[in-house]
């Protein structure tokens, strides 16, 4: 069966460290992958998109990698800050899937002082 897996347990890290979040998938052929941030009681906000032919994308302190062989994307936040505390969602856009995104359940990140 098709599955998108993100760490269900919260990730706690210290301010200034690099946070690394994982998105694994099985039985999908994604054309692209997106990462979103969601704060409590709010809708998700888009962060980065990476396509199947791209290995890495960066935006300020954010970096995303995409390994279609391992069926995995890693999302990194460098020099993390308490304001980065939120839930992070990965979403797959499938080959031939039109405009539909399939979301993972998200990983909660807590950055402590």
């Amino acid at each position: 069966s098709q599955k998108i897996e993100q760490n269900s347990e919260a990730l706690n890290i210290q301010e200034g460290k690099t946070a690394t979040l994982t998105c694994n998938y099985t039985n999908y052929s994604p054309a692209y992958l997106q990462w979103y941030r969601q704060d409590p009681g709010r809708g998700p906000v888009f962060l980065l998109l990476i396509r199947e032919n791209e290995k890495e994308k960066r935006k300020e302190r954010l970096k995303v990698t995409f390994d279609t062989t391992l069926k995995q994307s890693l999302f990194h936040i460098t020099a993390s800050q308490p304001a980065d505390s939120a839930t992070y969602l990965c979403a797959l856009g499938l080959t031939g899937g039109g405009n539909k995104l399939t979301f993972g359940t998200g990983t909660q990140l807590k950055v402590e002082l």
Binding site: Y36, L49, T102
Partner: protein
């Protein structure tokens, strides 16, 4: 900035009621979506629309219908609300296929 506005943040309805959730976007986007979000299940697509009066079923359309009479407005309808439809409902839009989604703030619906 693109704005996607959902008409209510919180809504409490009774079982069997007909419920309308409204969503408006102000950036002339072609595509609009309705998701529901439940703990442990993530966001699941209910319906989407790629043009006025056009709609397609998502992954969990049962018990829902939609209406898109104008480009900027996409309504989700629960014909007869049930307790298992208690959830956070999120509307989203994007300008073209395979682009990022812009989400509204969500409507927390409780069906008693």
């Amino acid at each position: 900035d693109v704005k996607v506005t959902q008409s209510s943040r919180y809504l409490v309805k009774r079982t069997g009621e007909k419920v309308f959730l409204e969503c408006v976007q102000d950036m002339d986007h072609e595509n609009m979506f309705w998701y529901r979000q439940d703990p442990g299940l993530g966001l699941r697509l209910i319906y989407f629309s790629y043009d006025v009066k056009m709609k397609e079923k998502g992954d969990i359309p049962e018990g829902y219908s939609v209406s898109r009479e104008k480009k900027e407005r996409f309504s989700l309808i629960l014909e007869s609300a049930s307790t298992n439809q208690t959830s956070m409902y999120l509307c989203a839009s994007n300008p073209t296929t395979n682009e990022k989604l812009f989400f509204g703030s969500g409507t927390q619906l409780s069906v008693l």
